[in-house]
C-alpha cells in the first residue's frame, strides 16, 4: 500500500522596508557588523518599540494578494526563548491575532492542472541577528544588524501532496512577493526562506506525526529535503517504528536532514501579549489605499497576455512567472509580432541569461534593443538567422542594432536581380546536382538554397531565394 506525503510550508519573507520594524535603523544588507543597531534593537533597558507603517502596509498587500481576511485589529506577542542572537530573550511576533487570516494561493502543477493551496495566516514579526561560529575559537561572534528586520511569516495549510507541489507553491509565493514589491526574494541572502512540515499517511487516514525541516533556502533544497524525509519516515514506519515530532535541519552538503535536539526544549515559547506595544488597529480606508496601489498580479497578467497578445497559456505562464520578465516582454512586443516576441524572450533571451547565470535584472540586452532587432526582421532589413547572430553579439559585447547592421553589412539582400545572379552562379557551378534535381530528386532543393545562402553570407532573403530557385531550376528542365 502506498504512502501519501502531507506537506505544509512556513515561509519567512523579509519585508523590504528601509528601516527596521520597531526602530529607525537601516535594513540594508552587507554593512559592517553592528553598525545598524540602536538601543531598541539591542534591547537596552528602557528602549521602546514603535511600529513601522510600511511593514503594516506590505503585510496588508500580501494578504490582499492571497484573498485573505485582513484583521483590522491584531496584537503583538512575545515569543520567549534564549539564543545569543536574540537580544531581548524574546522575539516580538503575533500569536493569537495575526494581521492576515485565512487565504488561498492557486498553483500550477507540472501536468498543467491548477490547485488551490490554503493559507492559514500571515503575521508580522522581527528577525533575529546572526551568529558567527567560525570567527573566533571558543567563542561565537554576534552581529545584530539583522535583528529587528521586519518579517512576514506566511503559514500554509498542510495541503501539498508531493515535493513538486511544495516547490510550485514556494515559487508562486516567491513570484508574488516580488510582484508586490514587499520582499526582494533573495534566497541566498536569506530574505526569503522556508521551513517544511512533512508527514506520511495512508491515503484517507488521519494525518501522521510530522517533522519540521528548517533552513531551506532554495527551491532545490526544499525538494531534496522533502524527498529525504519521505524516505526516512517510510523506513521508520515500515519497520514498525514511530515518527517523533521534532525539528530537523537540512544539511545541503550531505543532502539529508538531521535532528536538532537543542530545539526540542525550546518549543515552550510561553507567548503572551507584549505590554510594550498597543493593539494594531486600522480602518477600511488603510486597506483600500493599499488595494488601490496593488500592481497587476501574476494570474491576472497571464490572462491578459493570453487575450491581448493572443499567446497560448504556456507562453503566457512563462512570461508572467516574474514581473521583470513580463515587463521586458511587454516592452519588446510593441510594434512587433507578439508570438515572435514571445519566442525570442522565452527562447533566445531566457536561454542566454540562464547560460550566463544571470537574472532578468542583470540582462545585458535592453528590451528596447531587442524590440528594434525584431522590428528589423519584421521590415525585412535582416533575416531571422542574422538577427540571432546580432543578438548574441549584443548580449556578449553590447552595441546598437542598426549600427551593427550597417557597419557589418548585414542588410538582407532583397534585390531580385542580385539574388538571381547568385542563383545563376550556383546552378552553373553544380551541373551534376542540377541534372539530378531535374531528374526527380526534389530534395536537392535544400542543397541549392543552402549554397545560395552561403554565397550571400546568410543575407539573401530566404523566401525569395526559395521561390527564385524553384523557378529557375524548373525553367531549365523544360
Amino acid at each position: 500500500m502506498e504512502w501519501e506525503v502531507v506537506i505544509g510550508l512556513e515561509v519567512h519573507a523579509q519585508l523590504n522596508t528601509a528601516s527596521k520594524i520597531f526602530c529607525g535603523c537601516s535594513t540594508a544588507f552587507g554593512a559592517a557588523p553592528n553598525t545598524q543597531t540602536c538601543p531598541v534593537c539591542l534591547a537596552l533597558p528602557g528602549a521602546l518599540p514603535v511600529l513601522n507603517a510600511a511593514a503594516v502596509d506590505k503585510a496588508i498587500a500580501l494578504g490582499l494578494a492571497v484573498n485573505a481576511q485582513i484583521n483590522k485589529r491584531s496584537v503583538f506577542a512575545r515569543k520567549n526563548y534564549f539564543y545569543p542572537d536574540l537580544p531581548k530573550g524574546y522575539q516580538i511576533s503575533q500569536y493569537e491575532l495575526p494581521i492576515v487570516g485565512k487565504g488561498t494561493l492557486t498553483i500550477a502543477l507540472p501536468d498543467g492542472r491548477e490547485k488551490l493551496v490554503g493559507i492559514t495566516r500571515a503575521h508580522l514579526e522581527e528577525d533575529a541577528g546572526k551568529s558567527l561560529h567560525e570567527a573566533f575559537s571558543g567563542q561565537t561572534g554576534i552581529d545584530l544588524n539583522r535583528a529587528g528586520t521586519p518579517l512576514l511569516e506566511i503559514v500554509s495549510e498542510p495541503d501539498m501532496r508531493s515535493p513538486a507541489e511544495a516547490v510550485a507553491y514556494l515559487k508562486k509565493l516567491h513570484a508574488l512577493v516580488r510582484y508586490l514589491d514587499v520582499c526582494d526574494g533573495n534566497m541566498q541572502e536569506g530574505s526569503f526562506r522556508c521551513d517544511a512540515n512533512v508527514s506520511l499517511r495512508r491515503p484517507g487516514a488521519p494525518f501522521g506525526t510530522r517533522a519540521e525541516v528548517k533552513n531551506l533556502n532554495s527551491f532545490r533544497f526544499l525538494e531534496k529535503a522533502i524527498e529525504y524525509e519521505m524516505e526516512r519516515q517510510q523506513d521508520i514506519l515500515e519497520s514498525g517504528g514511530k515518527i517523533v515530532q521534532e525539528t530537523r535541519l537540512f544539511d545541503a552538503n550531505k543532502g539529508e536532514t538531521r535532528s536538532m535536539r537543542s530545539k526540542e526544549e525550546a518549543n515552550d515559547y510561553r507567548y503572551f501579549p507584549d505590554p510594550d506595544l498597543l493593539p494594531l488597529v486600522f480602518d477600511e480606508a488603510r486597506i483600500g489605499a493599499v488595494r488601490a496601489a496593488l500592481p497587476e498580479l501574476p494570474d491576472a497578467k497571464r490572462d491578459r497576455f493570453m487575450q491581448q497578445y493572443g499567446l497560448p497559456a504556456y507562453d503566457a505562464g512563462v512570461l508572467t512567472a516574474s514581473r521583470a520578465v513580463a515587463d521586458y516582454y511587454e516592452t519588446v512586443a510593441v510594434g512587433v509580432d507578439a508570438k515572435m516576441a514571445a519566442n525570442w524572450v522565452m527562447g533566445d533571451l531566457l536561454g542566454a541569461l540562464n547560460k550566463a547565470g544571470l537574472e532578468m535584472e542583470g540582462c545585458p540586452v535592453a528590451a528596447e534593443k531587442l524590440r528594434i532587432l525584431l522590428q528589423r526582421i519584421g521590415d525585412q532589413t535582416i533575416s531571422g538567422k542574422i538577427a540571432k547572430d546580432i543578438f548574441e553579439l549584443i548580449f556578449a559585447e553590447g552595441g546598437e542594432v542598426d549600427a551593427i547592421i550597417d557597419s557589418r553589412g548585414l542588410r538582407q539582400i532583397t534585390d531580385s536581380g542580385a539574388i538571381a545572379g547568385l542563383i545563376d552562379e550556383i546552378i552553373a557551378a553544380n551541373p551534376q546536382q542540377v541534372a539530378d534535381y531535374r531528374g526527380g530528386k526534389d530534395k536537392l532543393l535544400a542543397f541549392f538554397v543552402g549554397q545560395v545562402m552561403k554565397a550571400s553570407k546568410g543575407k539573401a532573403n530566404p523566401d525569395q531565394v526559395n521561390a527564385s530557385l524553384r523557378e529557375k531550376l524548373k525553367a531549365g528542365s523544360q
Binding site: H133, T140, P275, P279
Partner: protein, 95 residues
C-alpha cells in the same frame, strides 16, 4: 494547583536559572502560594468580558519608514562584556 518538583525544574531551565536540588521543594512551595494568589482571579465574574491585550484603551501609533539612525556602534558596545572586530562575543554556541 500542584506545582511539583518536575514543573519547578522545567521552569527554572526555561528561565535559565540554576536551582540547587536542595532548594527545589522550597521554591515549589513558594510558587504554589503565588499560584494560589493568582487563582483568586478566578472568582472575578468575567462573563461577557472580552479578552484584553493591553490595559490602555489606546491604539498602536505608526512610525514612517525612514532609516534615520547613524552608526553608534562604539558607544553602544561599551556595555558589552566582550567584543571584538565589531562583534559581540559570547561563549561558543554549539549547534
Amino acid at each position: 494547583m500542584a506545582f511539583d518538583a518536575e514543573a519547578v525544574i522545567r521552569t527554572a531551565h526555561l528561565a535559565r536559572i540554576s536551582l540547587p536540588a536542595a532548594e527545589v521543594a522550597a521554591v515549589a512551595e513558594q510558587l504554589e502560594r503565588i499560584m494560589e494568589m493568582v487563582e483568586a482571579l478566578r472568582n472575578v465574574p468575567t462573563e461577557g468580558v472580552g479578552s484584553m491585550a493591553h490595559p490602555l484603551d489606546l491604539e498602536q501609533p505608526l512610525r514612517p519608514d525612514i532609516a534615520q539612525n547613524s552608526d553608534r556602534r562604539e558607544a553602544l558596545m561599551q556595555n558589552a562584556p566582550a567584543a571584538r572586530d565589531g562583534l559581540f562575543l559570547v561563549p561558543k554556541v554549539i549547534e
